[in-house]
């Protein structure tokens, strides 16, 4: 019996039992669609995390006060417990930290901004002009902070796009006056919209000179000069490591800390954020794909179950075919083809359903899903292989049936 005739026979037999074929196919279809979707969701999350972390700034080192290690208090209070402008200036020196490109001290506080009858709460960031470079932000309207404004503690602000539209809907905010904590500031610029990153809204902020911020909401007492953090960018992605080491030893020295384990500050390279986030999404993807694989396996077992039922049901047909001259391999081929066709159909429709999900889900969930052609091809191959693997046993049972036993049953 040639291949095409076997194929025709298999197709006819599947069409004859179309409801059962459809339900069996559904098992594999759901599994394949689940795999396509979870892998797509995983890859989407991965690429989103990567772009979000990139949005924080490039080649960024984030220095924050305090230690991640627990233990006795390191150093005397007020002497070396915090990050100061002195630290930031020291880091900015090329001799101290040759691999540091830009340094931006940050003094941040949440404040109420008012303009006319509008008011808006936003983080107010006191910093220097380098902040925009380090954070990889651009001014789209007006101008950024100048070194002059910083040295003269001018009451000027650069605002994020969300602050701008909230306070001055419909009009250009540049040149307008807004009150921050009751003190009037002139808005000199508006930042580019950047969306949100790692649950932080990058468009909801106001940037003011750090000197002004110190006057406005700097603390009194021994911590008067303490910063919320220092952002440092390295000269290139290759010098992240050296920049980290240089900044670390410089701060140890400035803070009079002898042992690195006693450091009263923490430096987090952006890359470590990236790898942590990637690890989380990767683990999640594997978990989801695992669940989807189990669904696929269940679908395959369902297909095998139905194939076994089908063989039992068609014992007399098998016996007749054998009496008419069908060899074992001809029967084996017929039933294997049926199983493979079920798998392939499940794969094709599963990929179809997965693609529909990929088109629809981002609108419903607000997540991005990445379709990879590799996932699609792999799914089709896997679905066919499942049909083959779970079809072998039923097909072998059919092929081994003795014609007389098969003909007698009816």
């Amino acid at each position: 019996m040639n291949f095409w005739l076997s194929l025709r026979t298999a197709v006819e037999s599947l069409v004859e039992r179309r409801l059962r074929t459809a339900l069996t196919t559904l098992g594999i279809l759901i599994g394949i669609a689940a795999v396509i979707l979870t892998v797509g969701l995983g890859e989407g999350a991965q690429s989103r995390v990567t772009s979000e972390i990139d949005a924080l700034g490039t080649n960024l080192l984030i220095i924050s006060p305090g230690s991640t290690t627990t233990g006795p208090v390191h150093g005397a209070l007020g002497t070396a417990g915090d990050l100061t402008l002195t630290d930031a200036n020291a880091l900015g020196s090329k001799t101290n930290c040759p691999d540091c490109a830009q340094v931006a001290p940050v003094l941040q506080s949440s404040q109420v901004l008012t303009a006319g009858s509008n008011n808006w709460t936003a983080p107010v960031v006191g910093t220097t002009p380098s902040y925009l470079t380090v954070r990889n932000r651009q001014v789209v309207l007006g101008s950024g902070l100048t070194a002059n404004e910083v040295s003269s503690a001018s009451r000027v602000a650069v605002v994020g796009s969300e602050v701008a539209t909230s306070l001055f809907p419909g009009t250009s905010p540049v040149g307008q006056i807004t009150d921050i904590a009751g003190i009037p500031f002139t808005i000199v610029g508006v930042l580019n919209p950047a969306g949100s990153s790692a649950s932080t809204n990058l468009d909801n902020l106001a940037i003011v000179p750090i000197s002004t911020a110190e006057q406005l909401f700097g603390r009194a007492g021994p911590f008067a000069n303490s910063l919320s953090g220092i952002l440092v960018s390295s000269t290139s992605s290759a010098t992240m490591g050296p920049a980290y080491t240089e900044a670390f030893s410089l701060l140890l020295q400035l803070h009079h800390v002898s042992r690195p384990s006693l450091a009263d500050f923490t430096i987090t390279p952006q890359t470590s954020l990236l790898s942590t986030a990637s690890l989380i999404t990767h683990t999640l993807t594997i978990l989801l794909a695992g669940v989807a694989t189990i669904a696929l396996l269940v679908g395959g077992i369902g297909a095998m179950n139905i194939m076994l039922v089908s063989v039992t049901e068609r014992v007399s047909e098998i016996g007749l075919r054998k009496a008419l001259g069908a060899t074992r391999s001809a029967i084996l081929r017929q039933f294997l083809l049926e199983a493979i066709l079920i798998g392939l159909a499940g794969g094709v429709f599963g990929v179809g359903l997965g693609l529909v999900g990929i088109l629809v889900l981002p609108h419903l969930l607000g997540t991005s899903i990445v379709v990879s052609s590799l996932a699609i091809v792999t799914s089709l191959v896997v679905a066919t292989a499942i049909g083959l693997v779970f079809g072998v046993y039923p097909a072998m049972r059919a092929a081994r049936l003795s014609p007389i036993v098969a003909l007698r049953s009816e």
């Binding site: 019996m1 040639n2 005739l5 026979t9 006819e12 037999s13 004859e16 007399s316 047909e317 016996g319 007749l320 075919r321 054998k322 009496a323 008419l324 001259g325 069908a326 060899t327 074992r328 391999s329 001809a330 003795s402 014609p403 007389i404 003909l407 009816e410």
Partner: protein
């Protein structure tokens, strides 16, 4: 037809003498089937069943033989072995000079396909296929790859049983007698030497039985070896020779009384 072997014709001569009326005077008289001291045992130990015991049977090409017996007599087992659906436990079975015991599954399948046409009591037509497609089935296993050729040969076989006009009907749209005639067309389509009919009229009315038996008679007259397995003496009477089977043994032979 049977080839001109060197096998000696030792047993049973056909009782029916060719009349020449059907153009069968050139029939080969070489033995087509030779069974010698054939045993078939089922099961093991205490539950052993001797389905066939020391069966000796020779059938010459062109004979019309009825194998008669009640149910449980072993006639079905004998039919299975004759049809190469089963192999004997011991003894010798030569079909057209081939020792069947020496053949493997694939070779047995080829013999069934090329040399034997089966007609069953329950017709065993595939319900989802048309009459023509049912008749085409053996051709697919015979390696006839041309769809056209399969269709043409199936149509001429259906024509031979008088059902060419029913070729596109499904079995459910045909009467029992017509279904059995389709089954006969299917048995004929590969031009086998032997037609093996197992209770071919068992599920048919008297009228339909007459029709089907007439068809078998005509096939025999056309030169084929026809073996009928039946419990019905009336059916067996169509054959020129009766072989009576009881308790797994051949208990007697003879022409219709």
């Amino acid at each position: 037809m049977a080839d001109h072997g060197d096998d000696e014709d030792t047993l049973a001569t056909p009782v029916i003498v060719d009349t020449g009326q059907f153009g069968t005077t050139d029939r080969d008289k070489a033995p087509l089937i030779q069974m010698h001291s054939l045993w078939k045992t089922y099961g093991m130990g205490a539950s052993t069943v001797q389905a066939l015991q020391e069966v000796d049977l020779t059938i010459t090409a062109g004979e019309y033989v009825a194998i008669m017996g009640q149910s449980g007599s072993g006639k079905s087992t004998l039919m299975h072995i004759l049809g190469c659906l089963d192999v004997p436990s011991s003894g010798r079975f030569l079909l057209d000079g081939h020792n069947v015991q020496d053949l493997d599954d694939t070779e047995l399948a080829a013999i069934r396909n090329e040399r034997i046409g089966f007609v069953f009591q329950q017709f065993h037509l595939l319900t989802r296929l048309s009459a023509r497609r049912n008749v085409e089935l053996p051709l697919g296993y015979a390696g006839v790859t041309s769809k056209r050729e399969r269709s043409d040969r199936a149509m001429s076989a259906l024509d031979a049983v008088g059902l060419a006009d029913r070729a596109d009907h499904r079995p459910s749209e045909l009467s029992g007698g017509q279904q059995q005639r389709v089954a006969i067309a299917r048995a004929l389509v590969t031009e086998p030497a032997i037609i093996l009919a197992d209770e071919p009229t068992g599920n048919l009315s008297r009228e339909q039985s007459t029709e089907v038996l007439a068809l078998l008679d005509a096939l025999w007259a056309g030169g084929r070896t026809v073996i009928l397995i039946t419990h019905d003496p009336g059916v067996a009477a169509h054959a020129g020779r009766q072989v009576r089977v009881q308790d797994g043994r051949v208990i007697g032979e003879g022409a219709a009384e």
